[in-house]
């Protein structure tokens, strides 16, 4: 399998949310709690020695996705050809029936639900439609400071290295998220 994944340069991210808004526009998701791309915030220290960092948080398309294993209805599967963890919205029966087992299983809060009762799960699919058309996901194209990239994980590792840590992120060995980072140093 040619596993696809993300690269995130944490040293560049200004936390601007262009990726998050572009994701909502491209995937037509209303304002509200369903956010396929999230921005996690870290603040430490005291004025004037303050540390601030942001972490882009989509779905990391894990090699061993716990969400897929947790779904009682088999609505989540890992695609053979590119490793994208994909939700079949026709098979998802909504969160009233399963108490959001996928969300609870995911270490990264990737499965998301709208506010309506019985909402079906939605999450980042790496903009599969764009990937299939030979384009980058919309979040990657949207980043004003070019802090994001996506593609075959092997290519990303060659280009950006194999670092799997970042501020606000823990690499979960049991799921193997498909991401490499340029982390922000916590001290100069």
């Amino acid at each position: 399998m040619n596993q696809f994944g993300f690269y995130f340069d944490q040293t560049r991210c200004t936390g601007c949310s262009a990726c998050r808004v572009a994701c909502k526009d491209w995937n037509d998701i209303p304002a509200g709690p369903e956010n396929w791309m999230r921005i996690n915030y870290t603040e430490k220290g005291k004025c004037p020695d303050v540390f601030v960092s942001y972490l882009a948080a989509p779905c990391w398309h894990c090699e061993d996705p716990l969400c897929a294993a947790a779904c009682p209805f088999g609505a989540i599967h890992k695609r053979e050809e590119d490793g994208i963890v994909f939700i079949d919205r026709d098979r998802c029966v909504g969160n009233a029936a399963c108490e959001e087992k996928c969300r609870k299983a995911c270490p990264y809060n990737a499965p998301q639900f709208g506010p309506e009762p019985g909402a079906k799960m939605g999450k980042c699919n790496l903009c599969l439609d764009r990937i299939q058309a030979g384009e980058k996901p919309i979040c990657v194209e949207a980043c004003p400071v070019r802090a994001l990239d996506a593609g075959p994980l092997e290519t990303l590792e060659k280009q950006y290295g194999q670092t799997r840590t970042a501020v606000g992120f823990t690499y979960a060995r049991r799921v193997k998220p498909a991401v490499v980072f340029k982390p922000k140093p916590t001290s100069p």
């Binding site: 040293t11 560049r12 991210c13 200004t14 936390g15 601007c16 949310s17 262009a18 998050r20 808004v21 572009a22 909502k24 526009d25 491209w26 209303p30 304002a31 509200g32 921005i39 603040e43 220290g45 005291k46 004025c47 004037p48 303050v50 601030v52 960092s53 439609d129 764009r130 299939q132 058309a133 030979g134 384009e135 919309i138 194209e141 949207a142 980043c143 004003p144 400071v145 070019r146 100069p188």
Partner: protein, 740 residues
């Protein structure tokens, strides 16, 4: 390679951009289906040349198709300001406005008609108010405002120091800098030109050391700064003056540069050393004023003076204050003392950052003609005496005071009616509560708008206008680029919306104005192109320009302000009376009873941190640009609102002293008003200062508490000696929500 954007045969792609007052101008590819924008994509140029839009235009379709957009003309039915309106026909709306114009002119004269225009739509053809200005000039004139809220302090400083407002470098030049001082500049938030933050990051990655001097540890600083120097608002000039003191005492200034290119350094030196007033401006002196430790000031001065080239990037925010002009003047003076003016990787200061290639100030537009009301007034072009500018016009930050007081208050006329477009000044100039009172006092108020803004609520007649997506126009970025844009009409007008030009044209017929030219949008755009020297010089194929939506100008080397003046001073004098950089300005000295000193100086002001009023209101308020809207535009867009709650930044020290915890609702107040807002307790702001981003919509409740959290409910409607709006010079107090 098939493009996903073309997957749906019914979707067409239109190349467009926005006309917001945002600083950027970003290529957008709008996906249109059945007269609806269904998706937005950005620039598709080859990297690294893409001009990438920010989050705001990523939410463009939610703005254009927002359910609260005004879709038909309305008239007020309840009390003014209550927001009750009734749908009427265009015929009735235009007839009412035309009749009011005729009535007020007949009874009171043309000076009683106030035209309010603004930056809500920045482009050539449909530019805010251009058509209305032309119409009213033909109608006998009107009174209007002078100056812009954002940058008047920087404009005055640049004209004084350099005789020019083109004081910027193209952004790529930051890659030539070894040291960059972000002094009150936060491009991650306020954009400051498309890709500016990207270039700044590249400069950092290229090895530049970056220091941020600011009351806040803003996102730009968080990403690129090696050091944050927290500073009290309104004290930037004191720290700069003390840096000059260190440079002079340690003989670090570039004296050869000063001798060759400047006048008046000795007078500035005499002030700095205390020879003029017996008070030497030492780092210790500045530390007591600014809360920046003296040794930090010493190190800053040494580092800036000895690292070449270094770019001191001052901006316009700190200059939006009492005596704010002095900050940009003093920054420019430091740039000269360190020999960084006219040098790649350096900077000229002055705060405006514009380059003379494809600059927005040079946009063509509808010829407005002369305003008969202003004909007997003084010639104001180039004057540094602000009082001359307010003989026939009203300073923008006293607009509502002028409505209330008229001639008795020293204003040019007694205003009876106002016609407004492309602005929301009630929300965006000082003292919103006073503005609301002023609008109540008018005999008639008509507004062209896209939304029911806080100001539009006070209208008697509301005219719905088309958005940028429903128009074609010529666009340019604010300060830099360099490139030209053509925004293609993506949608047929929504609802019953008309553009401002159409409205003016239809009014012309009702006002019996015969020579108001009625060209189509197409004809006008062609004419504007034909008559614009810089467009014609750069663009030979107008049709191709339209199709591509952009014309990028290739620069062989980055633009550097005043490069010719520095490299070849004999043949290229500065555009000042002395032909040099004027650290001492004789023109300023010659102003009788002038409010600004001829050399840059730190001066105490009303509502600075030492004002006796600080015993009652001990916190200083700053009102920076928001990130998730453009000033007050896009305020309603939910995709943007949810990215960042509207909060007051407060340091834990100040929060603890008031029993305030993070996330609770608090009240920020002074004698001008009270806002209700959520507290954000953060180490990212210096103690003694609170920050509320401008642009949230004013929404007073029955008790007069502004539930919308509009920053200008707390600010002053006044201006500084050089015309700067004093919106960052306000004292406030914060308390927990009153419980009944």
């Amino acid at each position: 390679m098939p493009k996903s954007s073309a997957a749906d045969q019914n979707v067409r792609i239109v190349r467009a951009t926005s006309a917001f007052d945002c600083g950027g101008r970003c290529p957008l590819r709008l996906h249109i289906k059945n007269n609806v924008i269904v998706r937005v994509e950005g620039d598709d140029a080859e990297e690294p040349h893409q001009l990438r839009t920010c989050l705001r235009c990523r939410a463009y379709r939610q703005y254009i198709h927002h359910p609260e957009r005004l879709m038909y003309p309305q008239k007020r039915v309840g009390r003014r300001g209550d927001g009750q309106f009734e749908r009427i026909s265009w015929d009735e709306a235009l007839e009412t406005l035309a009749n009011q114009l005729k009535r007020v002119k007949k009874i009171y004269g043309n000076g009683a008609i106030l035209l309010m225009t603004g930056g809500g739509y920045l482009a050539s053809l449909h530019r805010g108010g251009a058509a209305a200005q032309r119409l009213l000039n033909m109608f006998g004139g009107y009174v209007t405002h002078y100056g812009n809220i954002s940058s008047e302090g920087a404009v005055w400083a640049s004209l004084t120091q350099y005789g020019s407002v083109m004081v910027g470098h193209s952004r790529e030049d930051m890659l030539n800098s070894r040291l960059i001082l972000l002094w009150g500049w936060d491009p991650a938030r306020m954009i400051s030109g498309t890709n500016t933050m990207y270039h700044l990051i590249r400069a950092k990655e290229n090895g530049a050391r970056v220091i941020a001097v600011d009351p806040r540890y803003h996102d730009t600083a968080a990403v690129v700064a090696d050091q944050w120097v927290p500073i009290r608002p309104g004290t930037d000039t004191a720290v700069m003056v003390a840096m000059a003191n260190v440079m002079i005492r340690e003989k670090l200034q570039d004296q050869a540069f000063l001798d060759r290119y400047t006048v008046g350094f000795d007078r500035f030196k005499s002030y700095v050393l205390g020879e003029e007033d017996g008070m030497e401006k030492t780092p210790g002196w500045a530390a007591a004023i600014s809360d920046v430790p003296a040794d930090t000031i010493v190190r800053l001065a040494r580092e800036y003076a000895t690292t070449r080239p270094a770019a001191l990037m001052d901006c316009q925010g700190p200059a939006r204050s009492a005596m704010g002009e002095q900050y940009n003047r003093c920054a420019a003076t430091l740039c000269a003392m360190t020999g960084n003016v006219g040098r790649p990787g350096g900077s000229a200061g002055g705060g405006l950052m514009g380059i003379p290639v494809a600059h927005m100030f040079r946009s063509p537009g509808i010829p407005a003609g002369k305003n008969p009301f202003e004909l007997e007034g003084p010639k104001v072009k180039g004057t540094l005496d602000i009082r001359e500018r307010v003989i026939k016009r009203i300073h923008i930050n006293t607009l509502f005071d002028a409505i209330l007081k008229g001639k008795k208050g020293g204003y040019p006329s007694d205003i009876r009616m106002a016609w407004s477009m492309c602005n929301n000044y009630l929300n965006q100039t000082g003292n919103s509560n006073k503005a609301a009172k002023a609008l109540q006092s008018l005999e008639f108020f008509a507004t062209q708008e896209l939304f029911m803004t806080p100001q539009a609520r006070y209208a008697d007649i509301l005219l719905p206008v088309t958005s940028t997506a429903e128009r074609s126009d010529l666009m340019r970025p604010w300060p830099s680029g360099p490139y030209f844009m053509f925004s293609n009409r993506a949608l047929e007008p929504l609802g019953e919306c008309k553009d401002d030009l159409e409205i003016a044209t239809e009014l012309a017929a009702r006002l019996d104005i015969k020579d108001f030219e009625t060209h189509s949008e197409e004809d006008w755009l062609q004419r504007l192109y034909e008559n614009s020297t810089d467009l014609k010089r750069h663009i030979r194929d107008f049709d191709r320009f339209r199709q591509e939506g952009i014309h990028r100008i290739e620069l062989e080397t980055p633009v550097v302000a005043f490069r010719k003046q520095i490299e070849d001073p004999e043949n290229h004098p500065f555009d000042t009376p002395s032909g040099k950089i004027e650290i001492y300005s004789q023109r300023v000295a010659d102003i009788v009873d002038g409010l600004c000193p001829p050399i840059p100086k730190y001066l105490p002001t009303s509502e600075d941190r030492n004002d006796p009023l600080s015993r009652k209101y001990p916190l200083q308020l700053i009102t920076p640009h928001p990130r998730n809207r453009v000033h007050s535009e896009m305020y309603k867009v939910e995709w943007l609102r949810e990215t960042e709650p509207h909060r007051v930044w407060i340091n834990p020290v100040d929060a603890a002293a008031r029993g305030i915890t993070d996330g609770e609702e608090v009240q920020v107040f002074n004698d001008r008003g009270t806002i209700a807002i959520i507290a954000w307790v953060t180490e990212r702001i210096i103690p003694g200062v609170v920050s509320v981003t401008e642009g949230a919509w004013y929404a007073p409740d029955a008790d007069g508490i502004d539930r919308g959290g509009c920053a200008n409910t707390l600010t002053r409607d006044a201006y500084s000696g050089g015309g700067a709006a004093v919106l960052n010079t306000s004292l406030v107090e914060v308390r927990r929500r009153e419980r009944s």
